[in-house]
Symmetry: C2
Subunit: 344 residues, 2 copies
């Protein structure tokens, strides 16, 4: 899933080139490239599909030359994750009715790729044998209020995989007090937005819980892979309701499981999380850019294009981000207002 | 005089395009253009001469298309103001042995151009009748420690012009205590670096006080204005000592006068002075650039290229300056370190 607009990472992330296509850490690989990389050896590039906005088609082709261009599915408009997943699921089912799918955001970070592959492999084995919907639950390391949580029913491990449990309930982003309670329990996990299932499981769930969406994509089975696909999608896709897969399916279906895991996951949803994750100097400054010089500064995250010479003097706790024709200087603690700043 | 490198205004001012060639106030006119403009009607463009570094020749031609290209004198290296003034004085003398000269920096601000023209006109009249060296002394408005001062002998007004007084002494940049004493007296004036004299006065002073310099330029009389001039200057100019006109002549000569005046002068030598001079919003922020947005910020001076979208949140008392591949964020009170920052 690569259709997001990444508005919280402005100005690095812009509607023209959102977060998933940006090399946020200055490593030479963008988020979507890192996402592709972490499936190497586990999923053949021919079986990697990208669902994105039509305006990002060229960026995806450029950043992921390994995958077939026909695997890049283009949404004519944004309708949240449920229509996106319905489209790609039916599209894949048209090619392989027995496929097992991993659904993943393309703008998250995973630091322990070995463990990630072990977990994904184990979950795929599980869904190939069951009709389970598997969500990956991240063991929380702090009382994060920016994530949704999944409560596991630890008394009900699945029979086929002792690491996988039935879901008790999904919980919205909590307040700090609730988040602190969650992390003292071992039952609560962050909702990573990564799902594993076989293709029949998800299309059946859509048939039952989202017939309005399913009735758009199931009838298109004869045209998937033909030269009529894009035009038909352009006509039909906008009719979908705007709804997330969590609301559309997860909170309604029965056979929902959670695979608790720890593989250094973050959604890197904010400058603050980037500040936490990226490499610091001894004064807790992140410098993403090759020529950034700090004087009497600490707790700053500075992100510029590689060539820029930057001098930062006397700042504590700021975001400094510069891209093309935009410069943002903002206290880290005020970063929730970036969407407001970028709009004006 | 347009050979300076303007290192205190980095990164707006760079060795490639120093302060005198920059539109610091965002008005559409650079310092050297504003300097040219304030002589309109008083000095014919054919009589405007620019002495600059050879590497700025094209910038001067572009910014001052009104003046003859042969009036742009090119120094092959920097030797401070005395050799610069010796060169242009002999060069002008070769064309008009009775010329009266105004020597002026090209990177200063004058807000009251009417009064400036009255003062300059009056001083030129005076030097056409006398062999006086006239310095323009600015009536101080604050105990500035960044300027040199001139002490006038107020008991000795000149006979021909009651506004002009003999100089008692030149004073180096004072400490704050001394500066405060200066401004309680009516005898002390800021040294503007603007001089008026007839060409014979200055060449005679150079003959007497700086024979080493004069002996380089006087023998070149036959080649000035010929196609050998530049090559000869390139050979001879580097032999000059590196010395300011103040040390070389002012502090040694006898017939030195000061013309106290008030025409809204500033050398705009620092970001702080620009902050004082440029237009403020109600929170004392200067925004030089067309799309600069402040939130919870005050006492900042922000200077960018016109097209840049800038968001500044939560800053008090900072310089934010961005040009080409450089970005500076620095407390105003630390601006004396900019030279250090720019060098690294």
């Amino acid at each position: 899933m690569a259709g997001g607009v990444g508005s919280r990472f402005w100005p690095m992330s812009t509607p023209e080139c959102p977060k998933q296509f940006i090399d946020v850490f200055g490593t030479g690989r963008t988020f979507i490239q890192m996402t592709f990389d972490r499936f190497k050896g586990l999923v053949d590039p021919d079986n990697v599909w990208v669902v994105t906005s039509e305006k990002y088609a060229d960026i995806v082709k450029e950043q992921l030359p390994e995958i077939p261009q026909s695997n890049i599915l283009l949404e004519p408009c944004r309708r949240n994750t449920a229509p996106c997943i319905a489209y790609v699921s039916w599209r894949i089912k048209s090619r392989n009715p027995k496929a097992n799918l991993v659904i993943t955001p393309s703008d998250h970070l995973v630091t322990d790729v070995i463990e990630f592959q072990r977990v994904i492999g184990s979950a795929l084995q599980f869904t190939s044998e069951t009709d389970a919907i598997v969500t990956l639950g991240m063991r929380p390391t702090r009382p994060e209020t920016g994530y949704g949580y999944i409560r596991a029913d630890l008394n009900e491990p699945s029979l086929r995989n002792s690491e996988i449990y039935r879901v008790d309930s999904f919980r919205e982003k909590p307040d700090l007090k609730t988040a602190k309670e969650y992390i003292t329990s071992s039952e609560f996990y962050w909702n990573s937005g990564i799902f594993v299932w076989n293709v029949n499981t998800i299309v059946n769930a859509l048939r039952v819980y989202q017939p309005e969406i399913n009735d758009i994509f199931e009838p298109l089975l004869p045209i998937y892979g033909t030269d009529k696909e894009q035009q038909t999608i352009n006509e039909q896709f906008p009719k979908c309701p705007n709804i997330s897969i969590d609301y559309a399916v997860m909170e309604k279906a029965d056979e929902i499981f959670v695979f608790p895991a720890s593989f250094g996951w973050s959604d890197v949803g904010t400058w603050g999380s980037l500040h936490t994750l990226a490499i610091h100097d001894e004064h807790s400054n992140n410098a993403i850019g090759s020529n950034i010089n700090f004087y009497e500064s600490k707790n700053c995250v500075v992100h510029t294009t590689q060539e820029k010479k930057v001098v930062i003097q006397g700042l504590d706790g700021y975001i400094v981000a510069e891209k093309d024709n935009t410069l943002l200087i903002c206290k880290l603690e005020e970063e929730q207002r970036i969407k407001e700043f970028s709009a004006e």
